[in-house]
Amino acid sequence: MAKKLLEGIRIVDFTRVIVGPLSIKALSDYGAEVIKIESRKALDQFRSSGPEPDLSPQFTQWNTGKLSITLDLTNPKSVDVVKRLVAKSDIVIESFAGGVIEKLGLGYEELKKVKPDIIMLSSCMQGQTGPYARHPGWGFQLSALSGFCHITGWPDRQPPELGVYTDFIAPHFNVTIILAALLYRRRTGKGQFIDMAQFENGLQFTAPLILDYMVNHRGASRMGNRSNYAAPHGVYRCRDEYTWCGISMSTDKEWESFCKVLGNPAWTKEPKFSTPASRKENEDELDNLIEKWTISYTPERVTMMFQQAGVVIDRLPTGIYQLGKNPRGTYRCQSEDRWCAISVFTDEEWESFCKVMGNPAWTKDPKFSTLLGRKENEDELDRLVEEWTINYTAEDVMTMMQEAGVAAGVVETGEDQLEHDPQTKHRNMFPELEHPTLGKHHAPASPFIMSKTPCEIRRSPLLGEHNEYVLKELLGMSDEEVAGLVIEGALE
């Protein structure tokens, strides 16, 4: 097998949650050997989000291909182990709040002593220096601080929950500068310390708005999905998709739990539903009654309620049955809203757009015939467009528009990305992996495909899975030494 791109590069990884793990994933997926320093006392927050550290779906996404060792870093013996490891590594990456790594005795000045050409990158919220260096926080708050929350959403509403958006910006800069530092070390023999502020990374993505303020003194504001250069340029409601759940009950105990979740409505007390045999006999009626209840809830909500009550239930893929054809044991839930984004820039695109809709009369109205006119009457335009899109599935709207040369795209859910989108499938964006405790699952691949050195996505590690490999094979420790670390509480 061909050598992998970053084969031979070893990285010591102290990072948690997303920014650090996602940055390093880019390197491990291309062949670097990444040793994640973990601790049972201070778990990666994603590991502690599941019932067990090794049963976290979230953790699997950003930690592919890494090795895991569990060390209590407050123990000086652990600090020694880390230093021995750093002496055999090329890169160290950490994302603690500013100043924490120094307190552990693992700051750059210390690590440089054991490996003079080490490349160390620290990525924290606001940088290692300045009054806010040690101020802790998450991508949630940083997306607010760096201005993204303020400019996202509707002008007449408060800004929406944006999630940890800046966590997905910082990795671009982290990966690029790490690789630049590797090239520089190759050329000069010099390592270095890299201070990355996720705040300053984020501002690279709002530069035009900042210049607008500096030059024109204009504060940026929210404009929904609109653009100055196109109309329509928005997201339109399409035909709702039916959703389904599968419920099965065999024992009386399950039937009781089931009725309890429904709030014990009167019909559940009727004798014709009192035994498994009578329920079987009156199954049509029973199914109708159940669906009358499930239809008011999303399949997720139904699943959650029943799982807590111990009834076996599945969420079935969206839209798998047409209405009225669902087989026994499957029930329709609240429909899922579906959306398609459409944008029309040029007059030519406008003509194609109108043609796809069958040139309804309103499209001939002179007020919509120019971009300026469409911008001036955009509220009305958006309403009219949606009156058309609501009759079609989001997929149909996208296909019809794209075939006519108009940019359009389904607003994809996780289900769309993993199961329906033929393009992400074509590029194998979510390869299937096998995990010892979580089983078969998917994790994201690289957004770029390299012709000669493809990435390889390997599953995420179990907590402490590679303790033995790191200590014995890499550091050459004897069984006694390793046992000593356990006894002293350094190795967890």
Binding site: L5, A144, G414
Partner: protein
């Protein structure tokens, strides 16, 4: 004022030819900040991304686009019609001495004009071609069109953003989505350079804008479907206590945590309330250690939200940011661009950079470099190029094309 002189950077030995439009400008910008010699090749008359606003003093002009300024600083600029035979010959000469070519033309277009990777590789086996397209070079959507809002839709981030009674909404700032493709392209270009240093060979890199956005899809969307068949819905509160709080002049973001970190992260807020005299008996006596968000009743939520709203309502965003530091509370403002411009942390790190624009008779304050490192840190030393600004420097001085020939090429609209 920064020096106009280029000094050595980590990527100084490398040359990048940049054929991108708004879909990929950031790639060359990042490599240029790190010291690479990035030559922006525009069609005669100038790149269409120069028409994207906002504009200097609101004057729409291809030499006054602040969008263009933002993502082309540090680059040199030449004009060249790569569709003409003469233009292609000149381009091939440039490729001889280039390390990376980055482009965002439609899939297969470079092949069509006979400048595909197989041609470039013959001219220079070490060169890498980074191609940014909406959906990748091949596949069922490869001929589909993209726009900013369409990228957000197909990338998957959008579905969970926005209020449940309205449509999903994109992250603000027009063309924001494409910046992720530019960032991925920069990563890909660096990977290719590393491989080239190890083996001597270049390669082609196929960047998809859709996949670059998919990379930003939070794990709660993909993993939730993969493992639990759960769809993350808009307006669905992840936790039941609000996270966005009104204050005197805007909003702040603050999370009440449950579970193992609840006491550590929530009690600074309670102490802050105490010092402002708005703490309630409930807050002072609340047992954070056993607090589980899933069990929180409406009564508990109200008892937590009420004094918190009181605390934040007393102050402005700037006051709360300062207070958060003092009380070690994770409270952050919904900053506006004005707030960012006056942010004390950025000032203390000398983040802002003054960049001269002699032809505008002024200098403009830019966001500074993306890193502070001990060896040859990234710099912003020069404003974006004017249209064809470095034609003479590159065509005459570097390629040795005579003045007469250049005149002829200009008349033929090659440059």
């Amino acid at each position: 004022m920064v020096s106009k002189e280029k000094t050595e950077g980590m990527l100084s030995p490398y040359r990048v030819l940049d054929l991108t439009d708004e879909k990929g400008l950031l790639c060359g910008k990042i490599l240029g900040d790190l010291g690479a010699d990035v030559i922006k090749i525009e069609r005669p008359g100038g790149d269409c991304a120069r028409n994207i606003g906002p504009f200097y003093h609101d004057e729409p002009d291809p030499e006054k686009s602040l969008f263009w300024f933002s993502f082309n600083a540090n680059k040199r600029g030449i004009t060249l019609n790569i569709e003409s035979i003469d233009g292609q010959e000149i381009f091939k000469k440039l490729v001889e001495r280039a390390d990376v070519v980055v482009e965002s033309l439609p899939p297969g277009y470079m092949n069509k004009i006979d400048l595909g990777y197989s041609v470039l590789e013959k001219i220079n086996p070490g060169v890498s071609l980074v191609s940014i397209t909406p959906f990748g070079q091949t596949g069922p959507y490869s001929d589909y069109k993209i726009s900013d809002v369409v990228a957000w839709a197909l990338g998957g981030y959008m579905y969970s953003v926005g209020d449940s009674d309205r449509s999903p909404v994109r992250v603000g700032l027009y063309c924001q989505s494409y910046l992720h493709a530019g960032g991925q392209a920069a990563q890909g270009a660096m990977m290719a350079l590393y491989h080239r240093e190890m083996t001597g060979e270049g390669q082609s890199i196929d960047v998809s804008i859709q996949d670059s956005l998919t990379r930003c899809t939070p794990e709660r969307i993909t993993a939730n479907w993969d493992f639990n068949k759960r769809v993350a819905r808009r307006g669905e509160r992840i936790l039941s206590i609000r996270r966005i709080w009104p204050c005197k002049d805007g909003y702040v973001y603050a999370i009440y945590w449950g579970g193992r970190n609840a006491r550590r992260w929530n009690s600074p807020l309670v102490r802050w309330m105490e010092s402002e005299g708005v703490a309630t008996d409930f807050m002072e006596n609340f047992d954070w250690d056993s607090f589980n968000m899933m069990d929180a009743t409406q009564e508990i939520i109200d008892s937590i939200e009420e004094p918190t709203l009181k605390l934040f309502g007393k102050f402005t965003m700037a006051e709360l940011l300062e207070g958060a530091l003092k009380h070690n509370a994770q409270v952050y403002p919904f900053a506006t661009t004005a707030d960012i411009a006056s942010n004390p942390q950025l000032a203390s790190r000398y983040f802002w950079v003054e960049v001269e624009h002699p032809e505008l008779g002024t200098s403009i304050t830019y966001p500074g470099p993306f890193a502070k490192n001990t060896e040859l840190p990234p710099r912003i030393f020069r404003r974006a190029p004017l249209i064809g600004e470095h034609n003479e420097e590159i065509y005459e001085k570097e390629l040795g094309i005579s003045k007469e020939k250049i005149l002829r090429l200009k008349q033929a609209e090659v440059i």
